[in-house]
Symmetry: C2
Subunit: 372 residues, 2 copies
């Protein structure tokens, strides 16, 4: 069974929409934030903990699982769901982003990318066909085309060449895809160039994917440029297919993405900053390492229903973080994931009420605080 995106409400004041994404492993409402389980585990957390955060789908990484433990081992375990004991929907990226960000040096050819493993330096090759073959074996519900994610900024000439290659790679990957239970997304690139984003979107949509990702954002550009990258692509994406903004997890960026018509987001941000003591709050990010929290016996956020805020104080979590105890990062991860999921719940509600733009104004105003 392929996924189906059932649109529910459209905001009359912007391009935001709500929907239900039906997958072989259950349905969930959109817009939705997806926690990242790079190595078949959302760092420090169990599937039950994710469920309690309201999390409905997790992302895992083809590149990492290919290197360790290897896609054949995951397949032998019964696929990624069984391997990691997660029964909800899973999305895997293609490995493209990791090849371009983690593996150095690399040699980009028409047939694929030659590079060195970031673990042991061994020579590796990833192609559109190989990325799909690995993902077919991993068995996620939603998989990604193999794309090039050029650095920002890149020249117009390089980006043009790159998106043409990525479109050719998309054609090859789609042809190679042979698991009818898995839905395949195409990826729109093009950097900050309006006509290239348009061209990439139009050509990718022609190939009729099950959904469309916007890639190459959050790679060093400023916020206004990031939002423009979304604006340049969205008009050319079909209404009835889900739209996934890759690698974006800042609360403000999620709101701006939703306003522009994005349905899905993923980012390591909530779990990565948690391990360094940083927590999302409505008043902005706070860092529990700060000495002001040493004797603060209130939760990270009053009125937060997450396990962490219901049971632990900032002072205790600060102690855990400063003492190097992993429970600290685990507790903040739970809160941070809940924070982003709850944000998408509020955004869905505001879309239904036609109050999204007002909500954004209020949220941004309050979020200006924080100490991190």
């Amino acid at each position: 069974m392929k996924i189906k995106h059932e649109l529910k409400y459209k905001d009359i004041n912007c391009q935001a929409r709500t929907g239900i994404l039906h997958t072989p492993k259950g349905s969930f409402e959109t817009p939705m934030f997806m926690p990242v389980g790079t190595q078949a585990t959302v760092k420090m957390l169990t599937p039950e903990e994710l469920n309690k955060c309201g999390s409905a789908i997790v992302l895992s990484n083809t590149y990492h699982l290919w290197l360790r433990p290897g896609e054949d081992i995951v397949k032998e375990a019964g696929g990624l769901h069984k391997f990691m004991n997660y029964n909800g929907p899973i999305l895997t990226d293609s490995g493209g982003f990791q090849v371009f960000s983690l593996a150095q040096p690399k040699d980009i050819k028409e047939d694929g990318v030659y590079f060195k493993s970031h673990i042991d330096g061994s020579s590796l090759f990833l192609s559109p066909e190989k990325a799909i073959e690995i993902q077919n074996k991993l068995g996620a519900d939603i998989i990604m085309s193999f794309d090039e994610c050029p650095p920002f900024p890149s020249t117009y000439e390089y980006m043009k060449e790159s998106i043409e290659r990525t479109i050719r790679w998309a054609i090859r990957g789609k042809k190679a895809h042979n698991n009818i239970k898995q839905s395949l997304f195409g990826i729109v690139q093009g950097g900050a160039f309006e006509d290239l984003r348009k061209h990439s979107a139009l050509e990718t949509v022609k190939l009729d994917f099950d959904g469309y990702s916007i890639g190459g954002v959050s790679v060093g550009e400023d916020k206004d440029t990031m939002y423009k990258m979304i604006d340049y692509a969205i008009p050319y994406l079909p209404e009835d297919k889900p739209r996934y903004l890759m690698g974006v997890g800042d609360p403000i960026d999620i709101i701006e993405g939703v306003i522009r018509g994005v349905d899905m987001f993923d980012c390591v941000l909530p779990t990565r900053i948690a391990r360094h003591g940083s927590a999302f709050t409505k008043k902005g990010r706070i860092n529990l390492k700060n000495s002001q929290y040493k004797t603060n016996w209130t939760p990270i956020e009053e009125n937060c229903e997450c396990y962490t805020c219901q049971n632990y104080t900032k002072g205790y979590i600060r102690h855990l973080i400063t003492a190097g105890e992993t429970l600290g990062g685990r507790l903040i991860s739970i809160h941070n994931i809940r924070f982003l999921i709850k944000l998408t719940e509020e955004l869905r509600q505001k879309i239904k009420e036609g109050q999204l733009l007002e909500f954004k104004k209020e949220f941004k105003k309050e979020y200006m605080g924080g100490d991190d």
Copy 2:
């Protein structure tokens, strides 16, 4: 309220006994294994996870909490129970063992021990009175006298001098103790010298503590010597008070201790080895890093009811450990703690049935396997 140890069954073939230890924070059956939460957290785990393992009491460390976050901060949080969100019984050690094992160099005087912090090298001083004062502020249900834990082996002369000083320290600590809700244990030392263990036990018991610890074991001596150390002390300890063998968590040692009349055990072993991939099984310790587990899709132990064995395979946990994911150590910690708690449950049952010595034989025979 002080603790009360209600004896239930005595084994007719050895000195083993079962009982119920009543504490201000609830009652639990003995013999019991206590997981160690050195820094006010049993590494990686929540109180709920400990409870699900059948854990009934946790140990925390005066030395560590004194240095970080400081006993005044814990007191301000409402005491250790509130600070770490754990509502069951808590035991704190005196800091003595840590001063002698972690802090170098140290200068042992009659008034106390001068040493350097293992965190920042600052000059510190811990005395019998100070150790009690810190523990009064931390607010555990059971606290320990400040003792010297000499290295093994020590000379007879040094050990004699040391236990006399430890007895004088016990008198001073008992006098300083001013929280009637907290029960105070004396500690029997004396190394492997029969007459010194006897002398230490007799003099400590004269002081009428709420319970008695056997210290200075598991510090490098061989197994037979360890068991003798217990044998030398036990005859002089009162029947109606709980007996606590400090720092012992090897399954065989727990059985041998119970046979000799010990009621309580603590050790970092189950959580420490877990973080290195090592798991207890009835067939001996196994290390999940071993490549044989790469494609093993069975739980650590069949028929184990712990969360880990009910949900995860050895192959997946191996992946987590080798990939450096902390969920791996967390899952094995849950299993290892459950393993030791379950062992004490079985020992209690066997004592009631008068089958303890037979059980020991069978357990030891099966436990000879393993690969770690």
